[in-house]
């Protein structure tokens, strides 16, 4: 939807075709985090940093409130080796505009009541934010409509053909739509959509589990708690690492798992156990809390973990904005801005080279 937003602002006419409603896909199943501070600063962090500027601009009046909060996050350190690694990262980041601060175990315990006394400390990432994806999508849709953009909900694309004059004909069963440009921004459906035009885009679903607890106002967490460690294999379940946060309503969300290619939405009990077991190492008081729901979401992961943004090297008029994995919310506005400049003005900013579809789909 961010692609459509920047296209209509550039004066183009758009139609978003969605097989469900705005909230049905991955955006409605994630936790709405904008993660700027990462262990390995790189392209994803840069997309997040630029996206945050766009979110702040949109949130300042234009779109109304979508609960954008610069509440930061704590990267939790378990060992002295991690703490040393963290201090080195902070030293390297000095003066690069990323706001990271080291907290000793004592300072962490003061900042986050209930945190395990065994932790070595934490890195506070002040720039990390969260937003309410549902409010954001609703606001975005209104803005797109204000600019004349259209929506076709509950329509599944079944066939795309090209006319001799180069127009795409998109058939959904409910309608036929013609356009000189098609953008494949279909999330976990990106691969089947591209295959309708004979292109194989390597986007596969990567399943994640999130555990939702009852409302626990006495355990409100001031900022997201994140694991310094990467997801690693658990004894029986899928690879997990920890992320814990409070929702506006007072529930806790406890994650998360990283699966291979697994497209079923089913819940794995061993994986849930691994998530909870690991989370208890950081926040022992979770032991007393009740779980009300365990759900899964599918992250649209690309072949190399970086998003695919830009023009097809084979089909003129076909563009991609997909493969963002778990970083969709973190990088959506900048993705939309970059791609709309490419489509509307023919300009490719330097960073787009790194995301070129041609790294996977060659003529």
């Amino acid at each position: 939807m961010c692609v459509a937003y920047y296209l209509v602002k550039a004066g183009l006419r758009t139609l978003n075709i969605d097989q469900g409603y705005i909230t049905a896909g991955t955006s409605g199943a994630g936790n709405g985090n904008i993660i700027v501070g990462n262990r390995q600063p790189g392209l994803l962090a840069e997309l997040a940093r630029r996206s945050l500027l766009e979110y702040e601009r949109m949130g300042n009046g234009e779109m109304g409130d979508f609960e954008l909060e610069r509440n930061g996050s704590y990267l939790l350190l378990e060992t002295e080796a991690q703490a040393e690694e963290a201090r080195q990262l902070i030293a390297r980041q000095e003066g690069r505009g990323l706001s990271l601060a080291y907290l000793s175990a004592g300072e962490l315990a003061e900042a986050v009541p209930g945190v395990s006394a065994k932790l070595a400390g934490a890195v506070y990432c002040r720039d990390d934010c969260s937003l309410n994806p549902l409010l954001f999508l609703r606001a975005l849709r209104r803005r797109i409509q204000d600019h004349g953009g259209g929506f076709a909900f509950y329509e599944k694309v079944g066939k795309i053909q090209r006319t001799p004059s180069g127009l795409f004909c998109v058939y959904t069963g409910a309608g036929t739509y013609r356009s000189p440009v098609v953008v494949d921004c279909a999330g976990v459906q990106a691969r089947p959509i591209a295959s309708l035009l004979g292109e194989q885009v390597p986007v596969a679903p990567n399943k994640g589990h999130i555990v939702v607890t009852e409302k626990v106002p006495h355990l409100r967490i001031p900022a997201k708690l994140r694991d310094w460690a990467d997801a690693s294999d658990s004894q029986e379940g899928e690879p997990v690492n920890t992320v814990i946060e409070s929702t506006a309503a007072g529930n806790l969300l406890i994650g998360k798992s990283e699966a291979g290619t697994e497209s079923s939405a089913s819940v794995s009990l061993p994986t849930v156990r691994a998530i909870l077991d690991r989370a208890l190492r950081f926040l022992p008081c979770l032991r007393e809390v009740k779980v009300i729901r365990i759900y899964t979401g599918l992250r649209p992961r690309s072949g190399d973990g970086l998003p695919i943004i830009g023009a097809s090297a084979i089909t003129a008029g076909l563009y991609y904005a997909c493969g963002h994995g778990g970083d969709g919310v973190s990088s959506a506005p900048e993705t939309g801005r970059l791609l709309s400049r490419r489509i509307a003005e023919g300009r490719s900013e330097r960073i787009m080279r790194e995301f070129a579809p041609a790294r996977f789909i060659k003529p």
Binding site: Y21, L134, A249
Partner: protein
Amino acid sequence: MDSDKLVVCRCEDVTLAEVLAAIREGARDVNSIKRLTRAGMGLCQGCICESLLEGILRAECGALPAAKAFLTARPPLSPIGVIDILNAKTS
């Protein structure tokens, strides 16, 4: 009765007016209404309001295919302690 005061989801305190607004906006399946309004997100996970949501949507928009009429079923069936999940025997 005033739809602003008629509560559809008691766990999350969601009124009929809010559900109708979600339908007016374009939601045509109960999961989307849930995500928009929080109806069904509470302690009972829709045990009470799922059929109400389906009924309201059917009354407004006509008969629904099964895929749009039911909330996605997810464990646990009723709230369970973190420690009980960790201690449960697998067999």
